[in-house]
Symmetry: C2
Subunit: 628 residues, 2 copies
């Protein structure tokens, strides 16, 4: 057993907890919105960590060896802002600007406030992000602790259990989950109410060292945290039995007070009530404020532009002009080359590495390859955690299966995380495995996110070089859409590509329309080109390898030289696909546009049957071209 | 202990299991694709259920009291097809057409084959669907058993644990999960390999009665199933230790054989090997084939058109023309009215019923209200299960949180399930809670799915009547996008609405452009209209309450009368939103279009600040109109 905290220290923390309570109420009352009662349940937990255990260079929130505190139950963030105020990071004025336009103190955490580790508040996400951060510490041999605070309602989310099993599998003994079991969700009692042992049993079966504590007993919390620090080879979880609205009679442990700030006219009375209820803490006189222990200093590295050279690649022969290669495999080669060029490149898999070809990277860099098993939400969360800690993670699975992690992707967008995602097996062209395995909504899904880019290579060379561009894109989420079948090489190894670019593959002075495509449909378009040529019909063809952003200028130029007509053809559903991007780009240019896309639910059959069924094969393209 | 199966019966089942093995191999070899080794591990489990325990009216797969067998690990479906062949449902010719275009036997299950209960194969989904079906049995007092077969790799998915906790919470003792623990995933060993007890411990902690069996011991499997049938108040799980590729030396229990069919030239040898390996089963002479016991007969009900009358609604006063009401609340009233009109209407919540207002329904129909706690994947899965069993479930949460269940929604699309989804709190207009709570990609997400419809009401009357339309839309997923703030009533209670319709709210003979909007931006557009009118500028305004499908004809007509100009304004991200739908509709009409949408990540602040920041407030609309 650890030596406990001094009586003085306990008193100090209790005093701070009272201040956190009062400040949480003040800020939410001032903003007329927010979740004070959820702050009251968490205050003692937060105070104990922030005012005794935290290792942190207060002036440098991005210090690589700071402890990490992730508030997964993001709606309790006012109590954490109050703690940062208590440590001198925020002023009282800052605090009271909560939820106003110019304040970085948002109603749920975002990294606009640099001390927030992650954008949370969409529930169920923090633990996986914490797993990524804890993995980073292990990888870099840093000694920081990653704390993740969750709510008891929140842990109904399956994503929490995914992340838990991965945390245990990787023996992350530098990760501490704290569950604020305040019994009440938004609309009623959580799954097990105050039967906290039931949650403990679950975590235990998932491989956690578990502790049940009275979440309002600072001494017990502190002792338990000390036990967590010395636990080995297992992540720890503290299940803290707390009361929502703790300290305020009439509100405490009562349903119906979620997300309800106290009114301005009630404020003084409430504060007095709390000061009375916690009279010892109130009477306590602070002598010296806690200054977090400085983390062991580590120099952070800045990323320089990462370059790879296809000519020098040890697999360069697979990219010769006479070769066929699947874009997903070219991605794998590029990823391995990137891994060689930069030590911060990571690959994260969810048991499909032999389909996405991240196994090529794994072979060379097993220590930077993370297997997340069939747990895509965790895969994306881990990527987010790693990225926040300065890594350049590529997460790859079937494009279809990123739908499982759409909330995590959405939140990474809000978190300004530069996730690199590669979705393989896009479209009906995967063939026999059928619709459940086809990514047909991925452009819509990722394209919607602000600052995202969507790249869609059609051959090995472009797949390789677009992967390189992704490694260097730091302004948001980048997505590479790869195809299953092997396809002909379209480009010479010297060809260059850029985000927002496109390639004119066929063009003449008498084109009857411009066909815009990418991936399999680009190859079908090239077949259509040859057949049409024999009939004396000429078309221009454009490779839209950058679907977002699009190269509006070139598209319009080529279309205007192609009888002012565009046909878009894509192996993606109609709404939100490549055609949408083109429509928006040319809408006011007087260009006639026809969108061809997958509009029916596909089937399980050989690829060519399915391309024909979806009317995106060369024959259908020919018909469409002749019709327009 | 139950009386065991007769020796004769055991022999019969083993014989059938051998046939399933051989047929699984034959069909996948014929189709040159598929997952035979995963069928071999599951064959004894499937044979024991299908050839001894199944209650099923073979001629009527939709019989309401048939047992339900959901293959969550969908890639093993050939073994189930083989079982249906064994029961006389399929011919050998049918079986060998696996994965060909005209066959309904797809590579992963879809309901094109009527005996498949659900579209699966995207992993982690079957258990929640099974929960829905088991709940239906309880509700209807039917005695069918719901079986869900999962893979050990698959149970890394968090969605499985979400569904497990809900199954236990509702004491679904008519639900049996069977995990085929064959140790190997696609690319390597699953999380716990053959340490099956670890999985058992997890299920136990989640409230299941757990059994560990040798999954190749028919007698043990049968005895365990008998124990499951008599277990009370708890769902059961059978963790079956199996070998992938069981029975074929060189393949059995070896990595690298996932999704690899045997070659045609190997086929005879492989079959001989199996017949040799299971020589007793091979020698067994069938005398009488198993005929599944008929379920207790129940008459199914067909749905007639469901109608509700706002004039007669007990809450009709909230829809008077001088009232303000949030569309989310109007949805709640309509849902309650529908519940009154039809006994098959269900509401499913994930702890936000007081935000989506499904609590209005709950108050009147507590027995048809299902609380799924904070587990959206399960909520959608349960809805899918209920819908398959003839119910009309409405699942509601924040639009943003449906992203958590996007894979479930995608698969329900493939499953031709008529899910009714209501996403509340759309857009930046929610204000202070900030971007994590804002649904800004929901139109893109749902709009992409084939056969889906997207409805977006702007006032109470339309919200009420669109909800009624959803109840009657059976051709796919319907989505209602509701807003947080209360808004003015725009329509009289007599107004009628239709899927694919729109409303022209303002129009004159000298309009300078047509503003198309819905929700909050429609109200901002109406404000802009008044301000512009004062400046002598006239515009037409169109309420696009049906975003998918759109009323192309009316839009073009109105735009042509409005100086050939359209401005779309939406509280949704740019890509994949309302503007995309309009662009596609008018692209070849020579109409000038400007898309205004949310293009930056929003913040946490009062609603009006955020509308302004996103440039979708009335002032921004005025500027845009004056610019075009």
């Amino acid at each position: 057993m650890q030596k406990g905290l001094s009586e003085e220290k306990i008193k100090y923390i209790k005093h701070k907890a009272l201040k956190l309570r009062i400040d949480s109420i003040r800020s939410t009352t001032e903003s007329k919105s927010g979740h004070p009662t959820t702050c009251l349940s968490a205050a003692d937990l937060v105070a104990t960590i922030f005012f005794h255990f935290l290792h942190y260079d207060i002036k440098h929130p991005k210090h690589p060896n700071n402890d990490r505190f992730i508030l997964s139950k993001g709606h309790s963030i006012p109590v954490v802002y109050a703690a940062w105020k208590g440590l001198g990071v925020l002023s009282d004025k800052d605090l009271l600007a909560l939820r106003t336009f110019d304040s970085v103190l948002e109603g749920h955490p975002t990294p606009r406030f640099a001390y927030n580790e992650a954008a949370t508040g969409s529930l169920g996400q923090g633990l996986a992000i914490g797993v990524g951060m804890a993995m980073n510490a292990k990888h870099e041999k840093l000694d920081y602790t990653t704390y993740v605070m969750l709510g008891d309602g929140e842990i109904s989310e399956g994503s929490v259990w995914e992340a838990a099993e991965i945390a245990a599998h990787y023996k992350l003994d530098n990760l501490i989950a704290i569950v604020d079991c305040n019994r009440l969700g938004q609309s009623g009692e959580s799954l097990h109410g105050h039967d906290v042992e039931k949650y403990a049993k679950k975590f235990e079966s998932f491989g956690f060292k578990t502790y049940v504590v009275d979440g309002h007993d600072v001494e017990q919390i502190a002792q338990t945290l000390q036990a967590c620090f010395v636990a080995k080879d297992m992540p720890c979880v503290i299940l803290a039995k707390t009361l929502k609205g703790y300290g305020i009679e009439g509100t405490q442990d009562k349903n119906g007070y979620h997300g309800k700030p106290f009114k301005k006219e009630e404020l003084d009375g409430i504060v007095t009530t709390l000061q009375h209820r916690f009279s010892d803490a109130n009477a306590y006189q602070e002598t010296e404020n806690y200054v977090p222990k400085l983390p062991k200093s580590v120099i952070d590295t800045e990323h320089k532009r990462i370059t790879i050279d296809l000519h020098q690649d040890k697999n360069t022969q697979f990219f010769d002009s006479n070769q066929k290669i699947a874009t997903r495999k070219a991605f794998g080669y590029a990823l391995a080359a990137l891994g060689n060029a930069n030590k911060d490149i990571f690959a994260i898999d969810s048991d499909v590495k032999n389909s996405t070809f991240t196994n090529i990277f794994e072979k060379d860099f097993p220590n930077r390859f993370i297997q997340c098993f069939i747990a895509e939400q965790t895969m994306v969360g881990v990527a987010t955690g790693l990225e926040t800690r300065g890594k350049i993670p590529f997460a790859a699975t079937f494009g279809a299966f990123f739908t499982r992690a759409y909330d995590q992707i959405r939140m990474a967008g809000i978190g300004r995380n530069a996730l690199r995602l590669c979705g393989s097996h896009c479209g009906v062209s995967i063939g026999e495995d059928g619709p459940s395995q086809m990514g047909l909504e991925d452009i819509a899904m990722i394209g919607a996110i602000p600052n995202s880019i969507v790249l869609y290579p059609s051959d090995g060379v472009s797949a390789y070089k677009l992967t390189e561009l992704m490694a260097n894109y730091a302004d948001g989420i980048s997505y590479l859409r790869t195809s299953r079948p092997a396809t002909n090489m379209l480009y010479d190894k010297n060809e260059t590509f850029e985000i927002g670019g496109c390639k004119v593959l066929r063009q003449s002075d008498h084109d009857t329309c411009c066909v815009i495509a990418a991936g399999i449909t680009l190859h079908e378009s090239l077949k259509a080109y040859e057949a049409l040529k024999k009939q004396g019909v000429s078309i221009s063809i454009l490779d839209l390898y950058s679907v977002k952003p699009v190269d509006k200028k070139t598209i319009i130029e080529v279309a205007k030289r192609s009888a002012n007509k565009i046909v878009t053809v894509e192996d993606h559903y109609l709404h939100g696909g490549l055609g949408c991007a083109i429509n928006r780009a040319v809408i006011n240019e007087g260009i006639h546009v026809t969108n061809v896309a997958v509009e029916k639910i596909s089937r399980s059959a050989p690829k060519d049957d399915l391309l024909r069924y979806a009317q995106i094969d060369s024959q259908s393209i020919i018909k469409t071209v002749l019709n327009v």
